[in-house]
């Protein structure tokens, strides 16, 4: 249970939140049933968890998450209809990158698997929550609010990405 909670807590890092919130806003703005992006995110999380077991240390997951957050936020700002595969592709990529950026800190294999389950559940719940909130934004000023929040995410992601590449 502690491993599960540790895994869930590990999700709540700013880089992860930027990516997942941006994806949730994008999917919610498109006002579609988020089943395909959600399945893609879950599949990505599973794939990423398998890959992280190979203990790749210096992977570019953090900059990749920032790029994906900026792309998802940029698409939300533009607010044009997207093919369903676009959001699904972003969900899959973010899903793979998330566990790679947060390897489990547990000592046993069993605890590490439980921690990864907690991490994945937290990510999926956060995505579902943001998507739901964005889907409820029907009034024009609410839809503008979604785009403004997306602009904040894009700006943050661009800044930190530049910082990582420059220093």
């Amino acid at each position: 249970m502690i491993a599960f909670a540790n895994g869930a807590t590990q999700f709540f890092a700013p880089t992860h939140l930027l990516a997942v919130v941006a994806l949730g806003l994008l999917v919610g703005q498109q006002a579609r049933l988020p089943v395909i992006p959600l399945a893609a995110l879950a599949a990505g999380l599973a794939a990423g968890s398998v890959v992280v077991a190979s203990a790749i240390r210096d992977n570019p997951a953090a900059p990749a998450l920032l790029v994906l957050a900026a792309i998802a936020a940029g698409l939300t700002i533009i607010a044009r209809p997207l093919p369903s595969w676009a959001a699904a592709g972003l969900g899959l990529a973010i899903g793979v990158a998330l566990p790679l950026n947060a390897p489990p800190q547990e000592f046993t294999v069993h605890a590490a698997i439980v921690a990864q389950l907690g991490f994945a559940l937290a990510a999926i719940l956060a995505f579902a929550l943001v998507t739901r909130v964005a889907t409820l934004a029907r009034v024009p000023w609410q839809r503008i609010g979604v785009r403004i929040v997306a602009s904040w995410i894009a700006a943050s992601a661009i800044l930190v990405l530049a910082l990582r590449l420059a220093r």
């Binding site: 540790n6 700013p14 930027l18 947060a102 785009r147 894009a154 700006a155 661009i158 800044l159």
Partner: protein, 238 residues
């Protein structure tokens, strides 16, 4: 008086490093619950129960997180960062005021354009690209945007966007220079971008008063005040 006073010193446990001593039980104990050791017996060695050592290990170690420093400290520091620069604050509020004054679509377009262009300015600051007269640009942004509000200027939308975007580069450059390195950067930058957005929203909320004649005067007066603050910064009075 029957209770012996403790000696306030860390206690070497037998082969287990440092552990908790016992609280002497006196209501006058100056440090109840503090790390202390009881009076050492004549032998100079005390056998402490093993749970004390375990408790010490649990209480004294910190959990190993993969993302140290990405917590609320960086976020709160970023959130408060723009607030402590009055020249930044008035310019951000002016963007919101002007947007509200111009109405749709400027009311939402300007607050979207500003953080995005500000991020590009931040990139310039991070990579160390030379940008002359940054502080002058920031003070000028308060003067120009404040005057736009005070004079109720209604230029074409693209002019407003270009003007706000140009000034956003100076603000972003200054922020980019001060962006902390390391894991805190994400939380810090998210904090200050959100603070910037909230200042815009403050300006928009106040600018909505312009729907009423008296409110219109108040908004234009606020624009004049913003321009004066900019003049104070530009002339070195502030």
């Amino acid at each position: 008086m029957g209770v012996p006073r403790t000696q306030w010193a860390p206690l070497p446990l037998e082969g287990r490093g440092w552990g908790w001593g016992s609280f002497n039980g006196s209501p006058h104990d100056p440090h109840p619950g503090a790390l202390c050791a009881p009076t050492l017996p004549a032998s100079g060695r005390v056998r402490a129960p093993s749970f004390a050592a375990a408790a010490a290990m649990i209480l004294l170690v910190s959990p190993a997180f993969a993302h140290t420093g990405e917590g609320t400290g960086g976020f709160l520091a970023g959130l408060s960062h723009p607030v402590f620069g009055p020249d930044h604050v008035v310019a951000m509020v002016a963007v919101g005021l002007w947007g509200a004054f111009l109405g749709a679509p400027a009311i939402w377009l300007l607050p979207i354009v500003f953080p995005l262009v500000m991020a590009l300015g931040g990139v310039l600051g991070i990579v160390g690209a030379p940008l002359p007269a940054v502080e002058t640009g920031i003070a000028s942004s308060a003067i120009v945007l404040g005057l736009m509000v005070a004079l109720a200027a209604r230029p074409p939308l693209w002019v407003a966007v270009v003007l706000v975007g140009a000034f956003a580069i100076f603000h972003g450059y200054a922020h980019g220079k001060e962006l902390p390195d390391g894991a805190n950067a994400v939380a810090f930058s998210a904090g200050f971008v959100i603070a910037t957005g909230l200042l815009h929203l403050t300006g928009i909320a106040f600018g909505l008063l312009a729907r009423w004649p008296v409110g219109r005067l108040a908004v234009r007066g606020a624009g004049g005040m913003i321009a004066l603050v900019g003049v104070a910064y530009l002339s070195g009075l502030a």
